[in-house]
């Protein structure tokens, strides 16, 4: 089935993780997404070293294709390499951007303007352009040039303070959460603005700050503080709504089960699976309030039981009884998860030099247009000829001159 965004042209500038994920939905739904890259200043994800890869070419330069993280985050896109330090490179980028329906970028504020590629410039060539910028702190404000990555965004937005153990460091959730939140918000804006343009003929420019998408998500933190000065902090796995709500050890090394039985029905079901032990009938566990008050002891009792059990088998038993529970899965274990397999989350495609890679789809399926990962990730500049000729009508001879003079690089 044709994708929802078949025929939509997107040009993407920038680097790292927050940029490329924003266009994932568009790629899955058939949009033609072109990344403008640079050989002189490659996306740092093309330079990340991996012990399992020989990443040095004989002549000494880095192999920009030995880049599995770049590949995994950029399937289905085309790549054009342009030297934006040269006027001719910038002119081509301008022509590409104004031949597109959508432009996204996550450079530092001001970089696009230096290239003559900011919205005010581009709209003169394309009045109905939809454009979204997505840097760390936004395009305005006194700290807009703060030079952070996702790790800094997570800390500034409050996620570190909220993640970990109350008596330990503010570790933050794995990966870089403002890098994973902001592209999802940008995807809403892209799809929404494209629909609006289809109806009204008008484009839009939106300035997204990765940190602000984090704070927006944490509205409960902000409002509770505004109401009472309360500052939520790290609570391990506990939840103020009740107990048990924890991750317990299971049989084997570093095996765990997550379990939430805060409601009365779930507690009763859990006690049944436990085999109705005498302790569960004691006064200290007789009510939800008592269980919460005696949570340390409750957790110790449950852990003593889970320790001898297999995490997956136990989760299956608990789920059959109606108790929310599941094994803690490592990222690698997701490749064998039967539910994700049913949803077709991983799409295995061959990537030159890297073998088969499990590319990922988003978490939403449209029934009438399920979407797909249309192709592997591009090599740097792989599609210069087809995009520049196809979109801009450049002649072969012109293309050869640009390549010879190093503009395409």
């Amino acid at each position: 089935m044709a994708g929802v965004f078949e025929g939509v042209r997107v040009v993407e500038f920038g680097a790292g993780a927050a940029g490329p994920v924003a266009t994932r939905l568009l790629v899955e739904q058939g949009a033609d997404v072109v990344r403008v890259e640079s050989a002189r200043h490659p996306d740092f994800l093309r330079l990340l070293p991996f012990p399992g890869l020989a990443q040095r070419r004989p002549e000494g330069g880095p192999d920009l294709e030995a880049a599995p993280m770049f590949a995994l985050l950029n399937p289905g896109k085309r790549s054009v390499a342009l030297d934006l330090s040269r006027p001719e490179g910038r002119a081509l980028a301008f022509r590409l951007a104004t031949a597109a329906d959508v432009v996204t970028e996550n450079f530092s504020p001001g970089v696009m303007a230096r290239f003559g590629l900011d919205y005010e410039s581009l709209r003169r060539g394309r009045p109905d352009l939809v454009m979204v910028s997505g840097c760390l702190f936004g395009q305005t404000g006194p700290q807009r040039h703060y030079p952070g990555f996702g790790g800094q965004g997570s800390a500034i937005a409050g996620f570190n303070h909220l993640t970990g153990w109350p008596d330990r460091e503010a570790v933050g959730p794995y990966a870089t959460i403002t890098d994973s939140l902001s592209p999802r918000y940008i995807a809403v804006l892209l799809a929404g603005a494209l629909r609006e343009r289809r109806r009204t003929g008008r484009g839009r420019y939106l300035d997204v700050s990765q940190i602000e998408t984090g704070v927006y998500s944490l509205a409960e933190l902000v409002v509770r503080h505004a109401a009472s000065g309360e500052s939520l902090g790290r609570q391990g796995n506990r939840d103020e709504r009740g107990a048990p709500h924890a991750i317990y050890p299971c049989r084997g090394e570093d095996r765990w089960i997550a379990l939430e039985a805060t409601g009365e029905a779930e507690w009763a079901a859990l006690v049944d699976v436990l085999g109705r032990p005498a302790w569960a009938r004691e006064e200290g566990f007789a009510s939800a309030a008592a269980r919460k008050a005696n949570e340390d002891e409750l957790d110790a009792r449950i852990a003593a039981w889970t320790r001898g059990e297999d995490a997956l088998e136990l989760a299956e038993r608990l789920q059959r009884a109606g108790v929310p529970a599941g094994p803690v899965q490592t990222p690698g274990e997701l490749l064998g998860d039967p539910q994700l397999a049913h949803r077709g989350h991983f799409v295995r495609l061959a990537q030159p030099g890297l073998g088969e890679l499990p590319f990922e789809r988003g978490g939403a399926r449209l029934a009438a247009s399920p979407g797909q990962v249309p192709a592997r990730a591009p090599r740097l500049g792989e599609h210069a000829r087809e995009v520049l000729c196809g979109w801009l009508g450049l002649a072969e001879a012109e293309l050869e001159r640009l390549a010879r003079e190093g503009v395409l690089g």
């Binding site: 790790g151 993640t163 570790v171 959460i177 929404g192 109401a227």
Partner: protein
């Protein structure tokens, strides 16, 4: 952006962010609660500590930019009213377990028959079909099964999650984006469709490709305040900061600038000042050398406040970030300068609280909170009135426990 779009939102907390996003982009979102209000959504803590569904802080925070009505889906008359509302809606968002609505006579076919243009978004823990479609999960189980928890926390303790539900935070915008895509498609086809969102799958997609990277590097393990051999999270006088002691060319200038700052304060011993950061490789250091290095930085950070360190980092362009708490966020000069926070009007002055107003900025105000969260049934007369129900009829429905 969505000024023409009408949304019915019956989701619980796992899905309510999607409707909030659409509402902040201009959609008319009508939240449907059970008569008397939804006790799970209107949970504590309460403003001033008095248990009152109208003063639930989580409710006030998470249900802005929507109108509110009550409706008993358990009653046949309630279900008929829902179908009438569906006739006039563009989008329906719900988080019922797969099959639950079917059993009530509100299955996909019934909804489509009433309104073939409806975009029906179902947000469930694992998706609407598949071997684990019927498994139950809140945020904790979703982050555990989505691959994040295993990698989060200290190596000597269990995997851990964020105090607030990050799997809901990822699923909300993914659902809203897919709804927008389905509405875009409808412009061409004239038909709506089902949007099937899985919390677990949304969470799985946040790992930066980690599942596929294990072929190229040793599988990661949660490492607490460290990344490999080096420390990332440091104690300050009043909290914590994030600062990497990692090597590599991208970090050299950053480390040199930090040491220069330490030297100005008389806190960089000669051996530290003499270190060549361009050649620094923590993996080549002995345990003693690494410990000495860490002690020097730790002493510098421990004597200063988060704000002081952040101010210095801004001035010297150092990659250091404070692990902000709620107060630091509320007072943040950059967020204040961009007017991220607004106080929403409310008839009850005590409820005029600051909210994060938007997730995107533009000169036209495309994205921004429209109104405070609704009181229980606040818009019953308005919304049911638009269906042609008069005051007398509404009173009877109320007496029958339908609204």
């Amino acid at each position: 952006v969505f000024a023409d779009v009408r949304v019915l939102d019956l989701s619980d907390e796992s899905g309510c962010l999607a409707g909030r996003i659409l509402g902040d982009l201009g959609a008319d979102v009508v939240r449907i609660e059970a008569p008397g209000g939804d006790p799970a959504a209107r949970r504590g803590p309460y403003l001033s500590g008095v248990a009152d569904p109208e003063r639930s802080l989580p409710w006030l925070a998470l249900h802005t930019s929507q109108r509110g009505i009550t409706l008993a889906l358990a009653r046949p008359r309630g279900r008929e009213l829902l179908l009438r509302l569906v006739e006039g809606a563009d989008v329906l968002i719900e988080t019922a377990p797969p099959g639950a609505w079917e059993a009530l006579g509100l299955g996909d076919a019934a909804l489509e028959a009433r309104n073939p243009r409806l975009v029906h978004c179902a947000i469930t823990p694992f998706g609407r079909s598949g071997p684990r479609a019927h498994w139950r999960a809140g945020d904790l189980v979703a982050v555990a099964m989505g691959g994040n928890a295993a990698m989060t926390g200290d190596p000597d303790r269990p995997p851990v999650r964020c105090t607030l539900p990050t799997s809901f935070f990822h699923a909300g915008p993914e659902a809203a984006a897919a709804i927008a895509a389905a509405l875009y498609a409808r412009e061409a086809t004239g038909r709506g469709q089902l949007v099937d969102v899985s919390l677990q799958e949304c969470q799985a997609g946040t790992l930066l490709g980690a599942p596929g990277l294990e072929r190229f590097r040793a599988p990661g393990r949660r490492s607490g305040a460290r990344l490999g051999r080096t420390r990332e999270i440091w104690r300050t006088r009043d909290g914590w900061v994030s600062f990497g002691l990692r090597g590599g060319p991208a970090r050299a200038a950053n480390l040199a600038a930090t040491v220069a700052w330490m030297a100005e304060c008389g806190q960089a011993p000669a051996w530290l000042r003499a270190t060549d950061w361009a050649r620094y490789d923590p993996n080549a250091l002995s345990a003693d050398e690494l410990a000495r290095l860490e002690e020097a930085f730790a002493a510098f950070f421990a004597g200063r406040s988060m704000r002081e360190l952040y101010a210095g980092a801004l001035e010297r362009r150092i990659l250091l970030a404070p692990c902000n708490d709620a107060r630091e966020i509320a007072e943040h000069p950059q967020l204040r300068a961009r007017e991220l926070f607004v106080s929403l009007e409310s008839p009850d002055p005590a409820l005029r609280l600051e909210h994060p107003a938007r997730f995107a900025a533009d000169s036209l105000g495309a994205c921004g909170v429209r109104r405070r969260a609704p009181r229980v049934g606040e818009h019953n007369a308005e919304v049911y009135g638009a269906l042609g129900l008069g005051a007398a009829e509404l009173e009877k429905l109320a007496a029958d426990g339908v609204v």
